[in-house]
């Protein structure tokens, strides 16, 4: 077994873990980011509402409240540095009846306490001018101008790439199977292939962060996954919402909302269903129906027939606190948790990374800045959002820009080849999809799959039937035709 040496091992490469890794990359440290999936951003990060929240929701004094507002404030800069799309759309909480209006003021006050800037309650006319497709029965809304839209997996990938470019070692397909603790201190992290001797560990294990904590004897919280289901609608209808439209929130969630995505799709969801199973990402007929009927209350003209896909995501809710679990494990000062990161976890990620850094420092980690740290990361140069002149120039520079692979999202071969040759290895069809949007459009990969597989096989030096959707047993093709053993039985019933 290979033995490696680290100053810090960050467990989990979701949006939190990658933010921590990137933050630590600023210092003269040997950092490992270990992830059990074959790619980054495969857990909660890949399936959520993709909103940067303003921060009026959380109970004042909680981590959620503090870090949401701080996170939202730094988002524009982080996204600029990493070339991740961030749209400062603002957001609205819509009161659909008079008796909901007091809730808006409650949120306004809470937001004020939490330090959310520029909140205001707007009347019906202003609301309908901003959002013409909202239910005309709406009476007022809370306007939060600092909210926005982001691509969550795009951010996680960018953070991981930037971390890797600044010296962080990223180990994919490396589940943590054990953590060695000697005399109340973590000494090593074990994966099936390597043992990493380390001075510090950060637990950003998402849904599994409680199980990781238990490896060092911490047993004071557990993660209860809370499922949320969503529908995505054709881009054609992205115009129907200019910003996230929340209903007045309930006790356990912000309610089922209607929102545009950064990529101009219309998204509705999520509902909220607590469950035990951490792998159960099934959508359900009842859940989807709930999402649809509540979203229709917000937007009666929702293009129901133009849904292009639906999915479910899990929130990693920590019990009993219901708050983020941040800081050292009791009795193990060099094991720092960044656990229970549920909504507003995406918004808080950059702030969580700062808090984790501070905890590491408090636990004795010396933070010496790296002179050559480069905060800037260049993304894949996309074709679809360019002018015809710029597109012409791109094709001239690289003819592969002249080959459209995904017609629904206008993704070219050049972009797919770039996705396959970046600092973080991309080896799955879903990985290509998350990096380029190939297959995310209205045909949902019907036309481009054979072409994507062809390019992947060529670039990765694999045969077509070795390509997987998401690693493991998720092969797309099960061998060639004319495979003699199978065809011998062919037509025997005929």
């Amino acid at each position: 077994m290979e033995r490696l040496k680290a100053d810090v091992v960050v467990i989990g490469a979701g949006v939190t873990g990658t933010a921590v890794a990137r933050e630590l990359a600023r210092y003269q440290l040997k950092v490992f980011l270990v992830e059990k999936h074959p790619d980054v951003a495969c857990g909660c990060t890949k399936a959520n509402t993709a909103i940067v929240h303003a921060g009026y929701d959380a109970t004042p004094g909680t981590w959620k409240a503090k870090l949401n507002v701080r996170g939202a404030a730094v988002y524009p800069q982080v996204c600029r540095e990493l070339e991740v799309e961030f749209k400062p759309t603002g957001s609205l909480v819509v009161a659909l009846a008079e008796d909901q209006v007091p809730h808006l003021y409650e949120l306004l006050n809470r937001g004020y306490v939490n330090g959310v800037p520029d909140l205001k309650v707007i009347g019906r006319d202003e609301l309908l001018a901003k959002e013409p497709y909202v239910n005309p029965k709406a009476v007022a809304a809370l306007w939060a101008p600092t909210a926005g839209l982001v691509n969550p997996w795009g951010l996680a990938i960018a953070q991981a790439e930037n971390a890797a470019e600044n010296g962080v070692e990223v180990l994919l397909g490396a589940p943590v199977v054990g953590i060695d603790v000697t005399d109340g201190l973590v000494t090593a992290v074990q994966t099936p292939d390597v043992i990493i001797e380390t001075r510090y560990v950060v637990n950003a294990g998402g849904r599994y962060s409680d199980e990781i904590a238990r490896m060092v004897g911490q047993d004071d919280f557990r993660i209860v996954p809370r499922k949320g289901e969503y529908y995505v609608f054709d881009k054609r209808f992205g115009y129907m919402a200019n910003c996230p439209l929340f209903p007045v929130p309930t006790a356990i969630s912000k309610g089922i909302l209607v929102t545009p995505s950064v990529d101009k799709n219309l998204l509705i969801g999520p509902n909220a269903q607590d469950q035990e199973d951490k792998e159960d990402l099934d959508t359900t007929a009842e859940g989807l129906q709930e999402v649809l009927s509540e979203a229709l209350t917000m937007m009666p003209d929702l293009p129901v027939k133009d849904a292009i896909t639906n999915f479910a995501g899990l929130r990693a809710v920590a019990r009993p606190s219901n708050d983020f679990v941040l800081g050292p494990a009791p009795g193990v000062p060099n094991f720092i948790n960044a656990a229970g990161i549920q909504s507003p976890g995406l918004t808080s990620a950059p702030a969580v990374a700062e808090v984790v850094r501070d905890y590491l420092q408090m636990a004795g980690l010396e933070l010496k800045g790296k002179k050559k740290f480069n905060p800037f990361r260049k993304g894949i140069v996309t074709f679809r959002d360019k002018s015809h002149e710029e597109q012409a120039r791109l094709i001239q520079e690289d003819p592969r820009y002249g080959q459209i692979v995904c017609r629904c999202e206008t993704v070219t071969e050049a972009e797919i080849v770039q996705a396959l040759n970046r600092p973080i290895p991309c080896t799955t069809i879903d990985g290509v999809k998350r990096r380029t949007r190939a297959g995310m459009g209205r045909c949902q990969a019907g036309f481009c799959t054979p072409r994507v597989v062809e390019i992947m096989a060529r670039e990765l030096g694999l045969s077509w039937d070795e390509i997987t959707k998401k690693g493991g047993a998720s092969r797309l093709l099960l061998g060639q035709t004319k495979c003699s053993a199978a065809v011998k039985g062919a037509g025997k019933d005929a």
């Binding site: 995505v232 959508t283 849904a307 896909t309 094709i395 003819p399 099960l478 005929a494």
Partner: protein
């Protein structure tokens, strides 16, 4: 940026585009260009390797590639120019087309007339909402067909098929003939959506059961699909609890309908009929944007390629007549779907054409009926009718109205409806 000029530019070199282009050329148009994103013409026919194409037009059962070959040869011979591996990005209302390919880069193509022949795409899992997990192994029937017939790979070996559309039935046989096991075809409607011939020759020949009023209610498996739950549905398509049955499989094929691909048309500002998903067209196959024509599956989904060809000849002629300054007078009557009819194409007919040529109306019915008359009505007056022994939603009905058979005046509305024989209208 290179700029080129053509009289007629046809977008899409499938059966519709090929027929339209060669017909425009045959009508005397000088410069006709066919643009297609694929590396070779023929469109989806190249992957439809089964026979059954051309029965109406040629009285023989060609395979898809053979049918395509006839038209590719004809187009080449007639002097149509081909621009392959080229993707059209936008069509402007002034009929300027922006397209790209790897050799030339960005191209601006100016056209006097444009024919849209982009075909259709398949409805997928998202469009029909099948709950459950999201593993690999779920394919639309056409994607699976491409892998098997053109790339030589098997998407799976143990297959469940949802939807009894023709491609699904054809693929049931195709998988069986490649040694895979097909568990069954499940159709939510109480009747099949495929041609009888395919039910007999693809399913019955291979002992593959067809379960009507059934649907897939859950997908199982996290990495590769491991099973599906199928349930019987009631008359409102609601799954009946207690009827669930788990069927192990490694592949789920979806054959649940097709959607015309009109993103370019929409962006150009062309009116789309929401019922068919394609442009509103005249009997010349001209859309609401003057000089832009459309034909084949981009207008409405056909079940027989023969009808695509016929319709595309009209579009080619229409485009040619525009270029040659021979368009009919713009006096139009409109058509409308009446009782029992889901839609009628074309939406508008030139009064002049009603007098000078046979006018074909394509329609789809709402539900299966036997022993009916398809009747053309203006106000309360029956103008024309034909008897049909049987009509089914899966099979497009075409009605030929001979020249001068009906007379109409501009602005009149012709309603097409079904009347049961024996019933008084």
């Amino acid at each position: 940026m290179r700029s080129i000029k053509y009289d007629v530019v046809v977008i899409g070199a499938g059966p519709a585009g090929l027929a339209a282009a060669s017909r425009a050329k045959a009508m005397g148009v000088k410069r006709v260009l066919l643009v297609d994103r694929d590396r070779e013409p023929g469109g989806i026919l190249q992957q439809c390797i089964h026979n059954g194409f051309g029965l109406h037009l040629f009285k023989e059962e060609l395979t898809g590639p053979e049918y395509a070959y006839k038209f590719i040869e004809e187009s080449y011979a007639s002097g149509v120019e081909f621009l392959m591996n080229t993707m059209v990005l936008t069509i402007q209302p002034d009929r300027q087309i922006y397209a790209i390919n790897r050799k030339v880069g960005m191209l601006k193509i100016e056209a006097q007339a444009i024919v849209l022949a982009m075909g259709c795409r398949e409805r997928n899992r998202g469009a029909v909402t099948i709950p459950g997990s999201r593993p690999s192994g779920i394919f639309t029937a056409g994607t699976a067909q491409r892998f098997v017939n053109m790339e030589g790979y098997m998407p799976g070996r143990h297959v469940v098929i949802l939807g009894s559309g023709d491609i699904g039935l054809i693929m049931a046989r195709r998988f069986t003939w490649e040694g895979a096991k097909v568990e069954g075809v499940f159709e939510i409607m109480p009747y099949s959506n495929g041609l009888n011939r395919n039910i007999v020759q693809c399913l019955k020949d291979n002992n593959i059961p067809l379960h009507l009023s059934h649907t897939v209610t859950k997908v199982h498996g996290n990495e590769r699909i491991e099973a599906v739950t199928v349930s019987q549905v009631d008359e409102h398509f609601t799954p009946l609890s207690g009827s669930e049955q788990v069927i192990p499989c490694d592949t789920l094929l979806l054959s649940v309908g097709l959607i015309p691909e009109n993103e370019l048309s929409r962006d150009a500002g062309i009116h789309i009929d929401p019922v068919i998903g394609g442009p509103v067209v005249t009997d010349e196959m001209e859309t609401t944007l003057a000089g832009v024509f459309a034909c084949g599956n981009v207008v409405h989904v056909h079940d027989l390629v023969d009808n695509v060809t016929r319709e595309s000849w009209l579009a080619g002629e229409g485009a040619a007549r525009l270029v040659l300054g021979q368009q009919p007078t713009r006096d139009l009557v409109t058509t409308k779907a009446g009782s029992g009819v889901r839609y009628v194409v074309p939406h508008k007919i030139h009064v002049e054409n009603l007098a000078t040529r046979t006018t074909t109306l394509y329609l789809r019915v709402l539900q299966p009926e036997e022993n009916v008359r398809v009747e053309l009505v203006s106000g309360t007056k029956s103008l024309f009718s034909v008897h049909q022994r049987v009509v089914r939603p899966a099979e497009m009905v075409s009605i030929n109205v001979p020249p001068k058979r009906i007379t109409a005046t501009a602005g009149e509305e012709l309603m097409v409806r079904l009347v049961r024989e024996g019933d008084k209208a």
